[in-house]
Amino acid sequence: MIENEIYRDVAKEDFRAECARLFSGGNGRLRLMFAADLRETGEGFCVYTVFSHAQEDRFEILRLKGIGGEGGKPEFPSITPEVPAAHWYERQIADMFGLVPSGHPDLHPLVLHGLYPPDVYPLRRDISSEAISRHLALENEDLSPFMEVKGEGIYEIPVGPVHAGIIEPGHFRFSAVGETIYYLDARLFYTHKGAEKHFERIGFKEGVKLSERISGVSSFAHSAAYCMALERMSGTALPARASAIRTLLLEMERLYNHIGDIGNMCAGTGFAVGYARGASLKERIMALNHQLTGSRYLRGVNTPGGVLVDALQDPAATLREIEEITEEYKSFISFLTSSVSHVERLENAGVLSRAIALGLGATGIAARASGLNDDLRTSHPHFYYGQLVFETHTRMKGDVFARMMLRADEVGCSIAIIRSILHKANGKRIEGNISDGGEWEAAANSQALGYVEGPRGSVFYFVKSGANGAPLRVKPRAASFCNWPLMPFAVHGNIVPDFPLINKSFNLSYSGSDA
């Protein structure tokens, strides 16, 4: 059994109260909620909730099983009234499985845009991918309406789903009074790729490649979390050197993302020189990624049971390059913070309150810049993080500036971790193989969680195998899925031309969230 995962079945009448108890007091965080079609094992449709404890390294996984069994209606009690963080998960479950969260305050389609006929539920096991694509028809286009704000002087600005420039698709509907945003309704999931269904089809080992492609700039975080889930499911031990390499590369991924994001914020304020410097620094780190692993996006490295590429072969050379990048970064960040016109735009823009962040289950930068101390690297140490000494950061103000400066703080932390791993490797203190050598085999009838703290926040995977060791359910959860619902709250009361800047300060992934 996996030490920090506690599985429990709960009765339907206790489900909501039990979830509310785990969530209450700001101690528990809803990390993941999903359904599984376990009719072939006789357990019917099941809904899982995964709560983590803030102080202890422990995940409480509640399961409500047998939904819709024996001719009953396929519904389950919604926990959203008690646990607001569940509201998107429940809508997703309703779309994908046809299980209705009864008592959900705002139930309408989230993932499937009416392109699907109303009675096709893609993640049910008895419908094949081919059947889904047969059912798709543009005539079915009947999108659920946007939230309409009524009142004198309120007008709507529709933006997207196709945007200027190379941006992923999303439709934003602003209700504004003059230049002031009153409400923002976002329709996402245009890049829904059916990844969850595809995981079941291609098998666990092929799934590594799929996990790397769920969200481009979080490729490594996703494949690491997925491999971790597979390893925990089968009880495979990860060699120390592989664990250190994963930690090193997770931090490299955080480094290029954070620096790229800091630079991107300059595009939001029209500060072209800052943007150009950030982009060139990011490019330098990605070139180092390529040198270390053969992939700028760190793909093709993770495999269940270890890593395929030894990124610690020449730690001394890597250290030298990291030192140079650090110098360049320091001059970049002091240039930005001394650019008054830039900083002025960031301060007090897009404030996200701590209460909203906590209630809606914010993760990553969005949570930590609003005063939530939520970092899986310390709360649930994975890979090599337990052997390292480092400091995590939070900021209290929750505005765009806080998110930029938090990224800057975390860049410092990432550099320290990278240095410390490289120094250890240089001193021959991280030796051994990079994988356990044997061919990884899935265990039958088994399940596990995998998780990492990625650049945008926590990334979770749940994997469950059937009697033959084939995937019964694979549930990825990207950080952005938790953070998109924060956006209407962060932009409320800001002016329309500040939206791109606020959006960039969160830098959420469409692809990851849409899966």
């Binding site: 709507e156 600005i157 529709p158 933006v159 945007h163 200027a164 420039g165 230049e179 300059c266 595009a267 939001g268 304020t269 029209g270 500060f271 072209a272 020189v273 800052g274 943007y275 150009a276 410097r277 060139s280 650019s339 016109s341 830039h342 002025e344 735009r345 823009a349 002016i495 329309v496 031309p497 500040d498 939206f499 791109p500």
Partner: protein, 302 residues
């Protein structure tokens, strides 16, 4: 037909080059090589060859605006001395007529932004009108200082004074005029000429619905207006050298345009765009400068 009657061609033909030079300077500031200085010409040539997509909601205003904007800018350039102190068409138009000829183009551009009925066009038009209200009086005041000092509202008369920022009043007026120039050409910190981020656009928002030939005319007119404003600044505040031989005055003019271009590129590269509602404080501040310049002139008598 002397040189003086053809000098407006300089503005029409070389304004895309000026745009290319400013872009090149900005690219260097960002550590990029950037496209060649002739790129705006290729862009215009490409646009002239392309088909147009026109909104079904568009009225005659949408079709007329590119011509009105282009022709009004061209007419304005007829009133400006470029390389000789005599403006191409001396008989008509002083600086006031010139500014309001330009304003005619702006008026139609704002209407055209609203005409296609899209959210971004309306947004751009509303913002453009807001900025224009703040910029125009300030620009007029700054110009009046130079006009009072030169004893005429005719640019050719003012430019014959051959001074270079020769009094405190001129320095203050030039500072105000420079801010107006930045705002009027849609540059940072007022507008971002390089962005197509839907929600932040001003000028680009108004012309968003245009394509093909119409867009080419509007872009070209925009380049011309930029060079025109540069030229007005030179005539008002640095006319020194304009009355020499043809070669000498052309060299002086080129050098002065390049210095102004460098100043614009440096301003754009050294700071971020202002938050939209902070624009009144920048433009209001510049208005105070232009008012001070007039008062200074009256008090000092020069």
């Amino acid at each position: 037909m002397g040189m003086s009657n053809l000098q407006f061609l300089i503005i029409i033909l070389l304004s895309p080059l000026l745009q290319g030079i400013i872009r090149k300077m900005k690219a260097y500031a960002q550590g990029r090589i950037g496209p060649g200085v002739l790129q705006p010409y290729w862009d215009l040539a490409r646009l002239f060859r392309k088909d147009m997509v026109i909104s079904e909601a568009a009225s005659w205003i949408f079709h007329a605006t590119p011509f009105i904007v282009f022709l009004s800018t061209m007419a304005a350039s007829l009133m400006v001395p470029v390389t000789t102190p005599d403006a191409p068409v001396l008989a008509i138009g002083d600086i006031v007529a010139l500014l309001y000829t330009l304003a005619l183009g702006r008026f139609f551009l704002v209407l055209a932004g609203l005409d296609a009925g899209t959210a971004f066009g309306g947004e751009g038009s509303s913002r453009e009108a807001t900025v224009a209200i703040l910029v125009e009086p300030m620009m007029m005041l700054a110009i009046f200082t130079a006009a009072v000092a030169g004893g005429s509202t005719k640019l050719s008369v003012i430019s014959k004074s051959m001074h270079i920022l020769d009094s405190p009043a001129h320095v203050l007026a030039f500072a105000a005029f420079f801010v107006a120039l930045i705002a009027d050409t849609g540059r940072i910190p007022v507008d971002n000429p390089d962005t197509h981020l839907e929600l932040t656009m001003i000028h680009e928002g108004m012309v968003l619905e245009y394509s093909g030939r119409y867009l080419a005319l509007l872009e070209w007119a925009h380049y011309m207006k930029q060079m025109l404003l540069f030229t007005i600044a030179i005539d008002l505040f640095f006319p020194y050298g304009i009355a020499g031989g043809a070669l000498q005055s052309a060299l002086f003019y080129a050098a002065k345009v390049l210095v102004l271009a460098a100043a614009v590129a440096a301003t754009e590269s050294s700071r971020a765009k202002l938050r939209f509602f902070q624009l009144p404080s920048l433009l209001g501040g510049a208005f105070v400068l232009s008012l001070l310049s007039l008062i200074t002139f009256v008090m000092l008598g020069r």
